[in-house]
Symmetry: C2
Subunit: 373 residues, 2 copies
Amino acid sequence: MKFELLYKSKKSRARVGKIHTPHGVINTPGFVAVGTNGTLKSIDNDVVEKIGLELMFCNTYHLLLQPGPQVIKKAGGIHQFSGRKTPIITDSGGFQVFSLAYGGVADELKSRGQKKSDGHVLKITEEGVLFRSYRDGRRVLLTPESSIEAQKNIGADIIIPLDELPPYHIDQDELRKSFDRTHRWEVRSLQEHLKNPQEQAIYAVIHGGLDLALRKESCQILSDHPFDGFAIGGSMGKTKEQMITMLTETLPSLPEEKPNHLLGIADLPSLNECIPLGIDTFDSSYPTRMARHGTLLTDQGPLKITRGVYSHDYAPIETDCCCPTCQNYSRAYINHLFKAKEMTALTLASVHNLAYMIKTLKQIREKILDGEI
Amino acid sequence: MKFELLYKSKKSRARVGKIHTPHGVINTPGFVAVGTNGTLKSIDNDVVEKIGLELMFCNTYHLLLQPGPQVIKKAGGIHQFSGRKTPIITDSGGFQVFSLAYGGVADELKSRGQKKSDGHVLKITEEGVLFRSYRDGRRVLLTPESSIEAQKNIGADIIIPLDELPPYHIDQDELRKSFDRTHRWEVRSLQEHLKNPQEQAIYAVIHGGLDLALRKESCQILSDHPFDGFAIGGSMGKTKEQMITMLTETLPSLPEEKPNHLLGIADLPSLNECIPLGIDTFDSSYPTRMARHGTLLTDQGPLKITRGVYSHDYAPIETDCCCPTCQNYSRAYINHLFKAKEMTALTLASVHNLAYMIKTLKQIREKILDGEI
């Protein structure tokens, strides 16, 4: 992997670059779609490729349990297996193990720390995390080494070391313990990776929650190791303001010549705020999940396609959109498919929202180059 | 519409032809896919077109209740509305009204005539049939004239007159009454159609159940009117043998120069038996429904893709298949998508089964031309 920094804004820390991978180029800033199980929900990879998605995010936790990394390895890797020709990134599996235990961040915030593990995470030790498979109840031990081994078998272009996602409600001592262990796990992951790089790149995950000193320390520790890039993980806070403060303070501590990624956040307001801070790539399932709930992204704001007013609106979702949905179908037809509970509705809506994100990021890159951001 | 009879088999009553419609040609014998709500389930019309489907069957009953024929009319007709450029046929709505009342044929056979209407059909009179909408409970009167009006607004290439589907368990007197009324309804439908043909063709529906004399009488009555083609409807019996006997006796009573259609039956064994009897087109939702249940059609018979043995089978569904699914994906990947409950599984499987039917019918046409059928 090679990161080519093409342009740095004079107005902000925004930058335009290209990440070169064995399966092609990722233009940055770029949107990364989530294809948990090796497919985006309701769109096949062939169509996704035609829309121009550059990077897809798959989840090692899910692939570990179904179909299992050996099945993917025997296919010749995730690209061969999934029919996807362009770049793929996998995470370590850790995020899902911990978020299933603590619930989503929103759930945990709502529960004010009262939510206890439901027996999903059985034990966290120096070695790794023992958890119960959601599919068949079997006990699985995930260690830095086993996560990397799984990610080697899966064979994505970019992989991520095992880290621990501490709960938001955690005291300072526990956070420090988790923080230190996470960094030891990450370094063990890197060492395991370097035994057989396999042309994969590995991004470290920056931790430290909302503690700005810890964030800086995390950047320092991880920058000292030959990671190929950096992902911002861990708790981002309760509000967008907290996240922005954290990113504003953290990003300058990362080496400029390496790409960075914001884990799990890519709503449009966050994109607009985080790109000037210097974030290169963003993943989120939100555009496709919104689509499945009938919310379509447009330059005029979100459009709830199931509203009655669209039942006889024969315009495309967006007049100037080049996506296959807007080229072929009207709002009225998509409204009808949702009302008739046709799966095609979910496909057409997802295609548009994905294309919208790709188009929006392209426009943002142009704006940076034009000196507007 | 023009039916061009290209070739008549010397071995059987099989024939090869072309039905020319305002939206293109339908090669016969041909498979007609069911797109109840104006889309095939889990495949969008743009993809369906690329696979080469020539005729799609939409259900007036469903379109009447959602989105309503006026919405489709205002779009410029079903082709404009659904983004489908190639031919479409609609039924009258009668079949669904009656089959929802009596249950599917299989249900009714199992119930031995004990199943009573569940209040869905409120009243059958000379005027038409009053039923309760399954969507919102409102009472809807479907008459020959209102069905044709709906089908004019929908604007398919081929439409079907309103008929009554008598239950299989019916005494001779009741069957006769239903038979006579059906023919009066069909003639009223034709008269309504002829007031404004709109470049649409209209197929009569041949009735008479398993009574061969009634079937012949139906052919005679309806052939005396300027219908553009004939659909075989009504009860086809309990067994395939009963259907074959009925078709063998009935088809020679239809005018050779007009196309005919077998309603609702297109499983492969039936195709192989009915084509030599002279059937031109067949509709059925079975290939796409089978696909959604993980059963894939192949020349070696049905393949249950969710079986464990396919989890590490990296061959395509069929090695020599040119469909987008077989060109891009393996059995192992499709097995995985089914196991992971990804909607994409349903799309990829449906695309293959649909392409399989299209390919099979093409091969059958070639066999007829080669003198093998």
